[in-house]
Amino acid sequence: MAHPLPSGNSLARLFLPAWTIAVLVFLYLPIVLLVVYSFNNVPTNMDLSAHWHGFTLRWYRAMWADRTLMGSVQNTLIIASAVTVVSIVLGTGAAWLMHRFVFPAAGGLQTLILLPMIIPEIIMGVSLMLLFRAIGLNRGYLTVIIAHVTFCFPFVMAAVQARLAGIDPALEEAALDLGATPIRAFFSVIVPYLMPAIVAGGLLAFTLSIDEFMVTYFTYDASSMTLPILIYSEARTGLKLTLNAVSTLFIAGTILLVLAMELLRSRR
């Protein structure tokens, strides 16, 4: 296989992997620290110095016993899942429709859709709060999901649009020629083609939703409190290692999920 860089230079070939490893170390330094600290038997939450005080599982036990914390984790996951599903539907639908048809002022529409990606979260949060108050919608699960979807679905749309840019037009034609209705053609031919973009966009939407604080703060109520809200109000008063425990589990969960997907993919 031809090497992409002309006249291989050993220095250049070393540089890229070395640089990438250095960057990964930088990215993981705080992660490793917070995971290690979740097992650190720190006696007081006022100590910012880096000391190991002995191994303990007490933070995990405390986390499990903390109903507010566990409730917020549950809320976060539910909301993120709902947000991902709705974002995928809206994002894929919008991308496809804008690709299939030429709508008037398509450029303007495009900008409008991408606007929530751009607007700072606090502005989105406050203006949505004002809107919900104006239309009389009470804060709760629904408002949080709406708020999240509004800035998440453009990411799905952007990913799908990029993928659609490379689609072979003959694909849809072929499906229609074979007697399928446009809807059938869409689901059995187009969607599978778009799947990598849908998954990528959906993943991004999910990730954005589980860490979203600002917009949530203005649109939630006590029964829909999410983990970021809890973290924001608790993490600021000293070390809260139960939060480290939760974060560690999130990381572990993600790693397991990735491994599972890799396994399933290689099985095919």
């Binding site: 007081t44 939450n45 006022m46 100590d47 910012l48 110095s49 903390d66 507010t68 549950q74 809320n75 996951l77 539910i78 899942s81 991902t84 599903v85 709060m129 004002l130 108050r133 009470n138 804060r139 699960y141 969607v191 799947m195 990598p196 849908i198 998954v199 959906g202 203005f218 109520d221 006590a222 029964s223 409190m225 109000s233 608790e234 600021r236 008063t237 000293g238 070390l239 999920l257 997907m261 399933l264």
Partner: protein, 345 residues
């Protein structure tokens, strides 16, 4: 097929949720909107166990945040926890429901000096929760010179070793105290008088932090501070090298109260909660966790001698303390002044 996997995962997560949403329909429920880190979970759980009323606890970390959200959620909250100046403001705007004292017999546990506050005579709309002061904490291992007031703290030799509350009105009030001006007389003329002093002070401050100055003090990032007495008390509990001083130039006390907003959906539950936390054994739990000044005389009898001897929680009676009043539009003037000073470097 990839979308099958995605669907499976989504289904798994959703199934973890169970019937979470259904629980909140017909029964009584208390919507508590209070300061974060101020109402122990033990107290909330105890209330629910005692009365069978579940509690929704939303948090805020400033009186203004509380008001902003309160205004956009009419008929949502049963209890709020404003500070004294905010109680004044809320009463002025007719946003509070009178508290039926016959429904809270435990109110008799409050010490007499708290029963008739200037901001709400006769406790018509509010019931004191916890009080406290803002004062000076310093590390006596590192600071050997006497510290008696703000001017001792804000000396050039202590540059880069000071942490203060990230609260513009607080900082301005300290400067007003030094100049002998009433802390509630925030006129443009008075602000101009303290501006140079503030400019000098800001240069010496290492950290602005309202969330929690304790880690920085404990870890030695800073050695001097002007902070809430509750934080000071906790530091003193950890290590006796920390000392608390009420500034000689003048200090102010704050009193946080429980109030019932107008249109509260469940006034009875709110009053039941107030009555519950006025119980001495419950109030003691709050004091154990958040060592501020407890206005509940019956609760004080249950505290340990060490707790009562903590000078940050229970300062000597002799010092005269003012309180903040509602200053309305002058808040914006303070905000403008401090933004100018803090950004113009």
């Amino acid at each position: 097929m990839k979308h099958l996997h995605l669907g499976l995962i989504v289904a798994m997560i959703l199934s973890l949720a169970g019937c979470h949403r259904s629980s909140q329909k017909q029964q009584q429920r208390l919507h508590l909107f209070a300061w974060s880190e101020y109402v122990p979970q033990e107290v909330i759980d105890g209330f629910t166990k005692q009365t069978g009323i579940p509690v929704d606890y939303e948090v805020y970390d400033s009186n203004e945040k509380m008001l902003t959200k309160l205004l956009s959620s009419p008929g949502h909250y049963d209890l709020i926890q404003p500070s004294e100046y905010m109680v004044e403001h809320l009463i002025k705007r007719g946003l509070l429901e009178p508290v039926d004292q016959s429904a809270i017999p435990n109110v008799g546990n409050l010490l007499p000096e708290y029963r008739n506050p200037e901001y709400d005579p006769g406790m018509k709309y509010s019931v004191p929760y916890m009080a406290g002061t803002v004062g000076i904490v310093y590390n006596s291992d590192k600071i050997k010179d006497p510290i008696r007031g703000y001017q001792d703290v804000f000396q050039p030799k202590y540059a880069g070793r000071i942490i203060v509350l990230d609260d513009n009105r607080e900082i301005v009030s300290w400067a007003l105290d030094v100049k002998g001006i009433d802390i509630n007389d925030v006129s443009p003329a008075n602000l101009a008088k303290v501006k140079p002093l503030l400019a000098d002070w800001l240069k010496l401050i290492k950290i602005f932090n309202s969330d929690d100055p304790k880690p920085q003090l404990f870890s030695g990032d800073v050695d001097l501070s002007v902070v809430y007495c509750g934080d000071a008390a906790k530091l003193i509990e950890q290590d006796k090298k920390f000392r608390y001083v009420l500034p000689a130039e003048g200090a102010h006390r704050f009193i946080d109260n429980l109030c019932i907003p107008k249109d509260a959906p469940d006034k009875q539950a709110a009053e039941a909660f107030i009555n519950y936390i006025l119980r001495p054994e419950v109030s003691k739990i709050i004091s154990d966790k958040f060592p501020y000044t407890n206005p509940n005389g019956a609760a004080r009898k249950l505290l340990t001698p060490q707790q009562l001897a903590n000078p940050a929680s229970y300062p000597p009676e002799s010092v005269h303390l003012e309180i903040f009043h509602d200053i309305g539009k002058a808040n914006a003037d303070i905000s403008q002044l401090m933004t100018e000073l803090r950004n113009g470097r």
